[in-house]
């Protein structure tokens, strides 16, 4: 087999997978055409259903819809904003976890706090439901301690929805996110810390002057990734926690587009139009954050 033939044969080996990738990742972009049609399934789109930018104009021209989009954007920004504001939490979690000298205890804490990362949002909701329901552990304990008279409806309350969603997100992810920092901590030069100890540095001084500065580059990347994903909270968490009481403040963009398409008669074109705008803004955000990262650190993360 000549070298040339071989290079084509090798390409042919991966061709089926490239085609699969094209269908699974690139073809859905074609789905954006639905935003330019009056699409009502099961009737397929055709030149007759083409309506141009009607649905994009509809977002801004319809005051009710505009207010809705505004509310959803506020929710999205609030949830992402809270996550961003507390994005240091896994780092601090890792720093102080590393301070625990008793190794079995440290291992135990790490194991237990990482577990929630590996269960689905449905299971998280099930856990929440079972523990927080009117006869769940939390209400039972609070009632018997006399802190409250009657059970609190934690999951159906519309108070502090943004913050509670952050709490669940942190419950699920913080332990896992800390692992990356723990790895970074173990990479810190031991001699630096020894030298500081000889000079009489206290543990807080070592943490503040050595550990945390060494973790900042990692933290910076995490912040940039957070910013790049600012509009993409995903829908699963919010979907499983959504109910009639908290719907107004829990709907983030990803959930909103799903709700528009599935509730009532289902408005696929409008949903697609909003999805499309979101995707474009997200890619732009990725470019911006990557550029910032390249300027600051000398390398991007893409």
């Amino acid at each position: 087999m000549s070298k040339k033939t071989r290079s084509y044969v090798e390409f042919l080996y991966i061709l089926p997978f490239l085609i699969l990738a094209a269908f699974m990742f690139y073809y859905p972009l074609y789905g954006w055409v639905y935003a330019f049609h009056d699409y009502m399934p099961p009737k397929p789109i055709s030149s007759e259903t083409f309506v141009g930018l009607k649905w994009f104009q509809f977002i801004v021209s319809n005051p009710v819809r505009l207010a809705d989009v505004g509310r959803v954007l506020v929710n999205t920004f609030a949830m992402s904003g809270i996550s961003l504001a507390f994005s240091w939490f896994p780092m601090i979690f890792a720093v102080f976890l590393n301070e625990i000298r008793c190794k079995p205890y440290r291992k135990f804490v790490q194991t237990v706090t990482t577990l929630p990362n590996f269960i689905s949002w449905v299971l998280v909701f099930s856990v929440a439901f079972n523990v927080l329901s009117s006869t769940g552990a939390v209400n039972t304990v609070l009632t018997s301690l006399g802190v409250i008279d009657k059970p609190i409806a934690f999951l159906s309350s519309k108070e502090h929805v943004w913050f509670r969603m952050w709490l669940w997100l942190t419950w699920k992810n913080a332990g896992w996110a800390a692992i990356m920092y723990l790895a970074a901590i173990s990479a810190i030069d031991e001699q630096m810390i020894e030298a500081a100890k000889v000079d009489g540095a206290t543990r807080m001084q070592i943490i503040w002057r050595i550990t945390i500065p060494c973790l900042l580059p990692t933290y910076f990347v995490i912040v940039m990734l957070n910013l790049a994903n600012f509009l993409s909270n995903g829908m699963e968490q919010y979907y499983v926690f959504m109910n009639n009481f908290n719907k107004k403040s829990i709907e983030v963009l990803d959930l909103y587009v799903y709700n528009i398409a599935t509730s009532g008669r289902g408005n696929y074109p409008l949903s697609t139009a909003i999805s499309m705008l979101k995707s474009i803004v997200s890619v732009a955000l990725l470019f911006v954050t990557n550029t910032v990262s390249r300027l600051v650190r000398g390398e991007g993360f893409v």
Binding site: P28, I100, V112, V122, V127, T272
Partner: protein, 315 residues
């Protein structure tokens, strides 16, 4: 005349171990705070497990907090008789096994092929796959397109969209690049072709990274819920365990029907400890869904750091 007191023996202390009062206080606080974190993460699971094996009339009223009371396993033996639950379990297991196997194989093969410098336009194809990590069309356009491809109401809708994972492919590529080139060259001199080198030489060598990928892919498949919700509107026989559990929690009616089917209401009135209740079903199904993840968890813990660290190396 002053008598000098004999020099007291100085207790030798390693300056490394010196802890000031402030340091000790921090230690104590740290231990307590992390005990709290561990409790918050572990207790909910413990709570659900002990409730699922306690007397149902007690768990119904939130009486079981610390240890199982009037232990029984009727809730679990009863699960088999809940219509549709066994089928859902089959679907979940099937998609996990098939999905994991295909994901790992494709990641290994593409990861290896993308290191073949002889391949036509290798870099272009690698970028073609890798760049898909950074954009997506949005769920509704995606659903509409999957419909066009006939993947809705079809078991393969669980598998095909998830088998090509650019991230895993990059992991494999990086790993393959770290394998000494001589290994492949030796085989090639002996006349082995591209595929033979892959199956005979590379696949066994890159096993460690494949183990990591296999576990993550399996957990992803097992936990998947959205594709069930979005792609399978008319095929209740394709429901997964995750979806069933979600239905049991949110649609009280579906559970009520189950409860009255599987037991008679007199039993509940009599406060029978083993009569089916909505709470009992919910909790035992939760345990069944969470257990596989918990079982493999200790085994794959050692892959965590590896998985994350290699991911930090760019492709």
């Amino acid at each position: 005349m002053t008598t000098r007191t004999a020099a007291r023996p100085v207790k030798h202390r390693n300056p490394m171990d010196r802890q000031g009062l402030g340091d000790k206080v921090i230690s104590v606080i740290t231990y307590i705070v992390y005990a709290f974190f561990a409790f918050v993460c572990a207790y909910p699971f413990y709570y659900i497990i002990i409730n699922s094996i306690s007397a149902n009339n007690l768990s119904e009223r939130g009486k079981v907090l610390f240890w199982p009371m009037e232990m029984h396993f009727k809730n679990y033996t009863r699960l088999a008789s809940i219509p549709g639950l066994l089928d859902a379990a089959k679907i979940s297991v099937l998609r996990t096994v098939i999905g994991m196997a295909l994901t790992v194989l494709i990641a290994a093969f593409l990861g290896y092929m993308f290191t073949r410098e002889t391949m036509w336009k290798r870099k272009l194809w690698f970028r073609f796959v890798a760049v898909t990590m950074y954009f997506n069309a949005g769920i509704i356009p995606w659903v509409l397109c999957m419909r066009n491809l006939g993947l809705n109401n079809n078991f393969w809708g669980y598998i095909l969209p998830m088998v090509i994972q650019p991230f895993y492919i990059i992991l494999c590529k990086t790993y393959c690049e770290s394998v000494p080139r001589e290994l492949q060259e030796a085989a090639e001199i002996d006349g082995a072709g591209t595929l033979k080198v892959f199956f005979r030489i590379m696949l066994p060598v890159i096993k460690p990274i494949l183990a990591t990928i296999a576990i993550f892919a399996a957990v992803n498949q097992w936990n998947a819920f959205q594709d069930n919700l979005l792609l399978m509107p008319n095929r209740r026989d394709l429901d997964t365990l995750q979806y069933k559990l979600w239905q049991y929690i949110t649609q009280a009616n579906s559970l009520k029907a189950l409860v009255s089917n599987t037991t008679n209401s007199n039993a509940i009135m009599a406060g029978m400890a083993t009569a089916a209740t909505a709470t009992a079903i919910r909790m035992s199904v939760t345990v069944v869904v969470v257990l596989p993840v918990m079982m493999i968890y200790p085994f794959f813990q050692r892959y965590f750091t590896k998985g994350i660290m290699i991911g930090a190396v760019k492709g």
